[in-house]
Symmetry: C2
Subunit: 423 residues, 2 copies
């Protein structure tokens, strides 16, 4: 199947009206409609396709769709073999077009679009090789050998059986009432969750009340993280988080601008005596930024994202750098399809790079998995390695059709009620 | 006119086929077609409009156009007065939409699109106030007062008469032959130019030959800068530029990734003993990045751009920070309309912020000015302050019509010859 010729690339604007129930709400994104630019690559081999996506939060998805269309001219007409035999070269071809790089470079819309396409290529490649996770793991290990190699088989078996430890963000979105928090947290504890993330940053007194509520419910032995979604400036972040130190958060996530490396370094330094680390990465736009975050000791947890940067290619560079700087990788997930995608990366990180679970956990959000053909499997608060070949982001055709924006039936209905102009 | 209601915002994809003659070619952009996403804002007052643009280099302009359309929903229906009476609030409204910020934030396509719209708003505002430069200068001075205030009137007069010193990039694009370099440089010397920028970075031996040629022509008393357009990694930049030190460049521009603050700091430190500064900024995507470049002593020349960041609003923040850190501002220009726009910013910087010409010069490229209603005026290698009210980026309707991509007559002709697929 490596000889397959890419004949068409289609992209859809697929949106889920999550804002109606405040799922995903935080201090900077009050009303996200979780969405994807969804890519399907067709080949000249019948039924041999690749599926990829990038995650967005509603308005603006059409811009990413437009960017995917522009980049698709660099993909159509190539064989899978041409691409993967010099994948680094293809990566640069896609991300460094002499004209299109100007509107990035390697950041924002154009990088999100590249990620959607690259995710689909990786999906095709995994399908072409017919890889189940065991085979995939062996393949990747062989390519990127590390000190952990001698323990590999044992690690594989343990991981495939018990899974990779996850934390949940589903309990404490900013827009949820205290009653919702209590009920969701109670349910999660019953399901075996031990790590809980709380959204903060809009109002300090609210944050104190919500953090106290969660800490009281989960007890001293479980883990809490807090997430401000870029709400503060540097000095504000330090004083605000210091006021929440009594609740012993493991980390403060996105305390300030995702571009502010030196600001994160200052925050890290100030919070270290309180035992609170800094986590960031979901909006860190490329490997050059991660490099500096690591060089400047500006984060203590690297939150890679499967769609923000250039897919597996760029995330491999980031995971290897994190290992070199001895900083744990704790991926960002949730959204639409991010859990499905990132579980592959975190398994790779564990088995081939870090060989450690110390201070490591992968985000999980229990939303929208029902729209995928091979949804994430969580057991005892752990990601269980996926069984189907591919990158796990193929969506159900009916889900894509219904949620197309603006003409799918879900949106036709909502927009008719709202009398909202579409553009 | 402040009461004018914004009724429509139209945006056009306007491209100039500059790649046909290698104008604008450099080490990373071999074949740019200089382009703009061109914005016209209409109001309920007849003939009261605003004109704005953002610069691009060809393919991908349609993505920026798509982003402008998405952002236009945040502008239409507002009055100019509503916007300018809380311009900071409007800026955040435009750049921090709870859904669209995800695909930035404040970077890449979405920030370029915001710049095009904001440039048009500033244009409207200046027209509404009927400001000629003297009035504009007085207005801005009043708003942003500095230590230089007492010398203001004298400075104004001198500036309006003699203009702001410029340097030329027109002589030494990377794709030009040595014969072209010689001829263009000779002409420029005859016109009174004293500062010359040379594109480098593709091949060291070529660079040595070209730099020697230019230095020999301009003599020891004139100024030369070199520009690598992000071609190198950090250590490569240091060794390559060291090999060109004998030609005494004032600065090396964009030696590496525009995102690599710490890398630029390392390069600055290594080149300081050679008397060579580091200049960057044309792809520095927001004030947070500039802040860090300044904090880390990572540049010695701040190259603001009128379209990369959020228009006057964000550039004011950058110019004020540069002044605080005592680093001169030497704007990026050229492209399409960048000279027309940036001349306003540099006058403001001189008169209201820095009050100095030491180490300061503004880029000038002698291309495509004929498409503007009030093109830049250069006299004795200086920008002469513009006389017409507004932000000087209104284009000729005939130019816009002919160069619309892909259906304007210029492109219909080129594409028919090339048999090139458009998308």
């Amino acid at each position: 199947m490596l000889k397959a010729l890419i004949t068409t690339l289609t992209v859809s604007d697929v949106r889920f009206p999550t804002s109606l129930e405040q799922h995903g709400s935080d201090a900077m994104h009050a009303d996200p409609d979780y969405s994807v630019a969804y890519v399907v690559i067709d080949t000249d081999l019948e039924k041999f396709k690749g599926f990829g996506l990038t995650f967005t939060v509603g308005r603006g998805t059409e811009i990413v769709v437009c960017a995917v269309k522009a980049l698709s001219t660099l993909v159509i007409g190539k064989t899978l073999e041409e691409i993967v035999s010099d994948f680094r070269g293809f990566y640069r071809h896609l991300t460094n077009d002499g004209q299109m790089r100007w509107i990035g470079p390697e950041k924002g819309v154009i990088q999100l679009a590249a990620a959607a396409i690259l995710n689909a290529i990786w999906d095709m490649w995994a399908r072409a090789e017919g890889k189940d996770p065991k085979q995939l793991i062996r393949c990747i290990d062989f390519t990127y050998i590390t000190d952990a190699l001698t323990e590999q088989e044992a690690l594989e078996d343990q991981m495939l059986e018990e899974g990779y430890p996850a934390y949940t963000t589903s309990c404490a979105w900013l827009g949820y009432s205290d009653e919702q928090l209590t009920q969701l947290c109670s349910t999660a504890l019953g399901e075996g969750w031990t790590r809980f993330k709380v959204k903060v940053g809009a109002d300090l007194q609210d944050d104190i009340r919500r953090c106290r509520l969660i800490r009281n419910m989960i007890g001293p032995q479980n883990t809490m993280m807090i997430d401000a979604n870029q709400r503060w400036d540097v000095s504000e972040a330090i004083s605000w988080v210091s006021s929440l130190a009594e609740f012993r958060p493991l980390w403060i996530e996105e305390p300030t601008s995702p571009d502010d490396i030196l600001g994160h370094a200052a925050i890290s330094k100030a919070l270290a005596p309180l035992g609170i680390g800094v986590a960031t990465g979901e909006q860190c736009h490329n490997r050059v930024m991660f490099k500096q975050f690591l060089q400047a000791s500006a984060l203590q947890f690297v939150q890679i994202d499967s769609c923000r940067v250039g897919s597996v290619n760029e995330n491999l560079a980031i995971m290897l750098m994190a290992a070199k700087f001895k900083v744990p990788v704790c991926p960002h997930a949730g959204g639409v399809g991010l859990c499905e995608l990132v579980q592959h990366l975190i398994l790779f990180d564990y088995i081939s790079v870090s060989a450690s679970l110390e201070n490591r956990t992968c985000e999980y959000v229990d939303h929208l998995h029902e729209h995928f053909k091979s949804p994430t499997v969580i057991r005892n608060a752990c990601y269980i390695p996926p069984k189907d070949p591919g990158f796990s982001c193929e969506m159900l055709e009916s889900s894509v059709r219904k949620h197309q924006f603006p003409h799918g039936e879900v949106w036709r209905h909502i927009l008719a009620q709202k009398h909202t102009p579409i553009f």
